[in-house]
Symmetry: C2
Subunit: 341 residues, 2 copies
């Protein structure tokens, strides 16, 4: 018996944008839509915008919401069942909000909620760069640095909070992190920390840089991944210095995790990771090398393959069951033992 094709929705809730996608059983994207994440109001306003983004995506796919077998959501913050607590980058979201229930009532279909980074890691494992492997670490390099783990073919959540690679300590008595702790990888590699340091060195220490000029020219209010990329293309000295520092911290922290877990593969994603691309992924691999205990066989290192829609496609996997296509091997971006190009 052949069961009829079912379709699912996926919503990736980010600090700056909400990305929605409609996917079929083969994980092909039938339609997608993007909206800006509200910067004021509260969780209910965010949920309303998520609903609207999903309806946009359904319209672009030419399907009714009623036709969806379910909707998956990848969210920042602490996931408690289908509620979300302490999504600190989102407006007024310090406490717990019943995000799943709210969307379920609005959309009239089953909604499941997962951690955004775990969901994106699961998507890379099932459908993207992680398909040839049974164990991997996803590193999402953006405003912060998030991590997701696949151990023995399964997402590993620990007691619910696994994957916080951004808060692996890379320097005892080091820099203060945006989380308030000392010496975290994110204090060196997170885009928010990098922007704060760039601003301080520029405004207080008089260091020259085009970073903030580029930001204004492109009508941004923050140093986005695109701004960093443009500054690097212009050989901006301060930008290069801060990116080098970030790459060093990433290589060190990722190598520490590899020494403990000996996973097969590391996948680099996130806004900065994807925007800076392969040359910087190779730099991260080279920065790992001096800290790998078994340096003769570093893990394979790949860029995330699903791009911008990875989070939404991964969210749809939360409701799409276990049917995952077979996994051909893919060439790695490079390992730390590759000669520099």
């Amino acid at each position: 018996m052949i069961s009829p094709m079912s379709i699912h929705g996926g919503i990736d809730l980010g600090g700056t944008k909400i990305q929605a996608a409609i996917v079929d059983d083969d994980h092909d994207v039938l339609g997608s839509a993007r909206r800006a994440t509200p910067t004021s109001g509260g969780p209910a306003d965010v949920a309303a915008e998520m609903e609207a983004a999903l309806r946009d995506a359904a319209a672009s796919a030419g399907v009714e919401i009623a036709a969806l077998a379910g909707v998956g959501v990848g969210s920042p913050g602490t996931i408690e069942g289908s509620s979300v607590r302490s999504a600190r980058n989102l407006p007024g979201w310090e406490g717990s909000f019943p995000l799943g229930e709210t969307l379920q009532a609005a959309l009239g279909c089953e909604v499941r909620v997962g951690n955004d980074v775990q969901v994106a890691t699961a998507a890379e494992f099932a459908l993207g760069a992680g398909r040839p492997y049974r164990s991997l670490l996803g590193v999402f390099w953006g405003t912060g640095v998030g991590g997701g783990l696949i151990i023995d073919g399964q997402v590993w959540r620990g007691r619910g909070g696994a994957g916080e690679i951004g808060h692996v300590v890379v320097k005892l008595d080091g820099a203060r992190c945006t989380c308030g702790r000392i010496g975290c990888m994110e204090a060196y590699a997170g885009r928010a920390a990098m922007e704060a340091r760039a601003r301080k060195l520029h405004e207080e220490k008089g260091r020259k840089t085009d970073l903030f000029k580029l930001m204004r020219e492109h009508r941004r209010t923050r140093l986005t991944s695109g701004i960093w990329a443009r500054a690097l293309e212009r050989d901006d000295e301060l930008a290069a210095e801060l990116i080098d520092r970030a790459v060093g911290a990433l290589g060190t922290g990722i190598a520490s995790v590899v020494n403990v877990l000996d996973i097969e593969c590391v996948i680099i994603g996130g806004g900065l990771g994807v925007r800076l691309g392969e040359p910087y992924a190779r730099r991260i691999a080279r920065a790992m090398q001096p800290h790998l205990f078994i340096d003769s066989r570093p893990p394979q290192l790949h860029l995330a393959a699903l791009g911008d829609l990875g989070g939404a496609i991964g969210a749809a996997l939360l409701v799409a069951g276990e049917s995952v296509p077979a996994a051909p091997a893919q060439p790695a971006v490079g390992s730390a033992t590759d000669p520099p190009r």
Copy 2:
């Protein structure tokens, strides 16, 4: 049908001693023996001493070697099948040696070889302090700092080299480790690194300490765990300073691993860990606390419960099948949120 009781041997091969035990199906120790690890010769001499230790243990248990259903071995170095490569603390053991085959020929029963730290972690999980948990990190604080992982109720070996928590980087551009790398936890917390630093500060910088006097009085050639413990009891300032530094590095590195894996429990074992005992285990928990990303629910922290024979009992588990007694909860030594005593 009740199957007859079978008995097994276990051998824990350490850098200073070989510990052998005979255990029954209930994991009760029927007899044990200890011999010094040869400091010269080569792998074959070590294997001969291991055979002798097991024969001593069998004699003390009043059983024939022929009665053993199998023998398990926990060994340092890289385990490749039943061969051992690069056991660097052992004499002439840079290459690969067929340890399992050699012992099997000598003893006439099945021999299986596992990594010493993974075997000790599995023993704590199955029979010791880790029984109430499904995920845990074993930290063996001795000459070096070894680690073992239980994830979802199974030993996690990665590609064979998992658990190297001693080589988690705690300080970018930090101290040089005995492994040659920079900033590893073991460079601060390993007994070998601590002894080298104590010697340097004493001999080159003129720092006062009783550590080396105690070493000579007790006819030791190295600063053993007992020497460190005695110096601490005498309020030796340099010993206290170096132990504090080690505890800080341990807390930082363990917290990093907890942030990534969110395991339920940390078990502190190893020569120094067991010798210094609960007060220092509590100090490690407190040193973890400022670096835990989810600091409201630190993992439980226990001392290893199986003591000196844990490695040998764990080695016997390699051949004893899966029959493991049920697991009642035990009180933790303390968590980082306990008030200081």
